[in-house]
């Protein structure tokens, strides 16, 4: 009898062998991830179908987090959800089980389980369309940091398998509710308000003080996430349903209110993506891939980095003003 590990071993092997050839651009790398995850899904689906039969109704499987935004690095954990049409107990059991099989498959193919349990094996992220509607309304209603966090998550959803429309409906629900209620939009921003200061008064870059990454900057925390989060807030407020940060920026440039500001942010973000890709190429392991050693940068690269960080701060303030002016 074959164990489950062996069912995905060839996919894992392919992923590991081919990864290096796809490090030229974030775009290429993410297309490659999609390819691998598609293979995992079709195998997981076959396994599932053998036991549980065909799906009881149409459904959409969507990716969340960095995969949703098409911004994965070489290694990242899995985040995904399912929305299905039929609001029955039977359908719920069926898709939760499918979600579990998919999650197991991804884990074995080198996409570790999500620590926050944002996976379609979790009833919170695997619901009928009707339940999703109620869920999102109550998230908006409750407006705690936790439920706002979930709205941030869902807004990064990208269709992976099935009908695009179902995911679009969820996003519309979020953006319509936040657009018409300035207070809710402010709460939505407050969820990402904390930003670790990374450039000092004298232009000094604050690096890690201890451990193996002492002297390095955590690029993900200090630069990447601030851009992603702030742009997501603007996207929601303008009803832009696109998931990737660059695409959101492109769309925001068409909005007269933001057209003047976005090009500056976009340029800095592109430089950041380039920085990140270089870090990924040179990193000995996943953990190190987030870090950039400041001392090893030449004066030009250092200036670029400082510009990226300062621009992130400026974007953050811009979005803060935008959400608080009501």
């Amino acid at each position: 009898m074959t164990t489950r590990e062996q069912l995905y071993a060839d996919i894992l092997q392919e992923k590991e062998e081919m990864m290096d050839q796809h490090l030229h651009s974030t775009q290429r790398l993410n297309a490659f991830h999609d390819e691998i995850m598609t293979q995992v899904f079709s195998r997981a689906f076959k396994l599932h179908e053998q036991v549980y039969g065909p799906p009881p109704c149409p459904y959409s499987l969507f990716l969340l987090g960095s995969a949703g935004r098409f911004e994965q690095g070489t290694i990242s954990d899995q985040d995904h959800g399912i929305v299905f049409q039929l609001d029955t107990e039977e359908a719920s059991t069926y898709f939760l089980q499918l979600g579990q099989t998919f999650a197991d498959g991804l884990n074995e193919a080198g996409y570790p389980y999500c620590e926050g349990n944002v996976m379609s094996s979790n009833p919170i992220w695997c619901r009928s369309a009707a339940e999703w509607k109620n869920q999102i309304s109550s998230w908006i209603e409750e407006e705690t940091l936790g439920t706002m966090r979930s709205l941030h998550m869902i807004y990064d959803a990208r269709i992976f398998h099935g009908e695009k429309e179902a995911v679009s409906t969820l996003k519309k629900q979020v953006s319509i509710a936040l657009k018409k209620d300035a207070h809710k939009l402010k709460r939505f921003f407050e969820n990402i308000q904390y930003m670790k200061k990374s450039v000092g008064l004298f232009g000094q870059i604050f690096t890690e003080q201890n451990g193996q990454h002492a002297g390095s900057l955590n690029l993900k925390q200090s630069a990447f996430l601030p851009y992603v989060n702030a742009i997501r807030v603007l996207a929601v407020s303008e009803g832009i349903e696109l998931s990737s940060t660059l695409n959101r920026m492109k769309a925001l440039k068409q909005v007269p209110a933001h057209a003047g500001r976005i090009p500056e942010y976009e340029e800095a973000f592109r430089t950041l993506l380039d920085f990140r890709l270089r870090a990924l190429k040179n990193a000995p392991d996943y953990d190190s891939s987030h870090y950039i050693n400041i001392e090893l940068l030449g004066p030009i690269r250092k200036r670029e980095l400082r510009h990226i960080l300062k621009t992130a701060e400026s974007l953050h303030h811009y979005v803060q003003r935008w959400t608080t002016k009501g």
Binding site: K196, K197, S198, G200, L201, F202, Q204, F206, Q209, N210, G211, Q212, H213, A214, G215
Partner: protein
């Protein structure tokens, strides 16, 4: 009237002695808070114990070596096993004076033992306490306070930036070099990991107890109530502590992007250490400047130690060593003509480089002596005991259980040991 002054002096210095002895409580809180839970009981208990042991050594030989008659270059040679009798030439009760001096010796060894934290065998603490209190501290104290050659030279060290703090710190340096860093402090590539203390509230309370105790340490060092001068000394002491904390907050905020609590606390202590030498010789504005500089020095001092690969677990070197040196040198800059009752005025008061030179020489010789002799003592102990350090396994399980058999925090650790043994048994 003279009787009255004698009684008042005795009373004031007795109060000061109590304050200085109470500083041991500050060190207990500071050291236990700055280290890990698994060593807390050990650190707290041994600190009380070594003060007791150092007291006996001071009574037997320490006092005699510092203040005894028939002195040679290194030490005095009378009043061994001090009887409590009144000594000539003192304007206060001699047993009170003895107790006050004993308290200082106790502080010096406590600082020294800070460098041993979280890895030295208990037996090393015992042996080193005896030998340091007999052979290291009394010599430096004799040179500067006991009428020795540095006293004659005009060295200014009012309450012991050099005698107590630097001497203690140099012994801590010798110890930390011979003991080597704690497991996990440095990575193979030389980068350092922070080993955070387990309770910043303890550490802060420790600092405040030390701060209050310092009024005994510095203001008490007037050993007299004459013209209420102790008030001025206390004023300078407090200003320097405050300035040290402020400077440390600012420098850590600017450099790290966040103000760092251990740095702020160390800044207050650094200000106190630095003003210890100069508190009676400088104006209030100079006390502020001395404190501010100490607060910056302590921040970079800790970083420097880390760069050198030296594990300074409770900042004995960066708090007592570097600010101790700075404080001693500071009178060479800031001592005023009116206040320089010992030595000469400083560079900024037209005294030229003369006093600065005296201070520099004194600090260098005292520091070198303390380091070399402490190193030699520890080297001999190392050979004698087959090592200064507990085994790797003992260090990992913690000194509470390995050296004493009980935990300072039994509820935290006993549970896990039981579970572990159960699991092991289950297998």
């Amino acid at each position: 009237m003279e009787d009255m002054l004698f009684l008042m002096n005795s009373l004031w210095v007795m109060v000061s002695a109590i304050l200085v002895i109470f500083m041991i409580a500050g060190f207990i809180m500071l050291e236990a808070g700055s280290t890990r839970m698994k060593n807390a009981g050990h650190i707290a208990g041994k600190t009380a114990f070594t003060f007791g042991l150092a007291s006996l050594v001071f009574w037997a030989v320490g006092f005699a070596f510092i203040f005894g008659d028939n002195a040679n270059f290194f030490i005095g040679l009378s009043n061994f096993f001090y009887s409590g009798s009144e000594l000539e030439g003192l304007s206060l009760s001699s047993p009170v004076f003895f107790l006050f001096q004993l308290a200082f010796a106790g502080i010096a060894i406590t600082i020294a033992l800070g460098g041993f934290a979280e890895r030295a065998k208990l037996s090393v603490y015992v042996l080193f306490t005896i030998l340091f209190s007999a052979l290291v501290y009394p010599v430096v104290a004799h040179w500067i306070w006991g009428g020795g050659w540095l006293a004659e030279h005009g060295k200014q060290d009012f309450a012991g930036s050099t005698v107590v703090h630097l001497t203690g710190a140099m012994a801590a340096l010798a110890a930390t070099i011979l003991l080597k860093p704690r497991i996990g402090r440095f990575n193979k590539d030389g980068s350092a990991n922070a080993i955070h203390g387990h309770n910043q509230v303890f550490t802060s309370l420790g600092v405040l107890i030390l701060w209050v105790g310092w009024f005994g340490f510095n203001a008490g060092s007037t050993v007299s109530v004459d013209s209420g001068f102790f008030g001025f000394v206390a004023l300078n002491t407090n200003l320097a502590a405050g300035a040290g904390a402020v400077a440390a907050l600012i420098i850590s905020w600017v450099v790290l992007g966040k103000s760092d609590i251990p740095t702020i606390l160390n800044g207050a202590l650094a200000g106190l250490v630095a003003i210890t030498a100069s508190c009676a010789f400088v104006d209030t504005w100079a006390a502020v400047v001395i404190g501010l500089i100490a607060g910056v020095l302590v921040f970079y001092g800790a970083k420097w130690m880390e760069k050198l690969g030296i594990d300074d677990p409770i900042f004995a070197l960066s708090v007592h060593g570097i600010p101790g040196i700075w404080g001693t040198l500071s009178t060479g800059f800031f001592a005023t003509p009116e206040l320089a009752t010992v030595g000469k005025p400083g560079l900024f008061y037209g005294g030229g480089f003369a006093q600065l030179g005296v201070q520099a020489m004194g600090v260098f010789v005292s520091g070198a002596f303390a380091f070399i002799v402490s190193f030699a003592i520890l080297y001999v102990i190392k050979k004698l005991l087959g090592g200064l350090r507990v085994s790797e396994e003992e260090e990992i399980m913690g000194l509470d259980i390995s050296e004493h058999g009980t935990y300072g925090y039994p509820e935290v650790f006993s549970g896990t040991t039981t579970t572990k043994s159960k699991t092991a048994a289950g297998k």
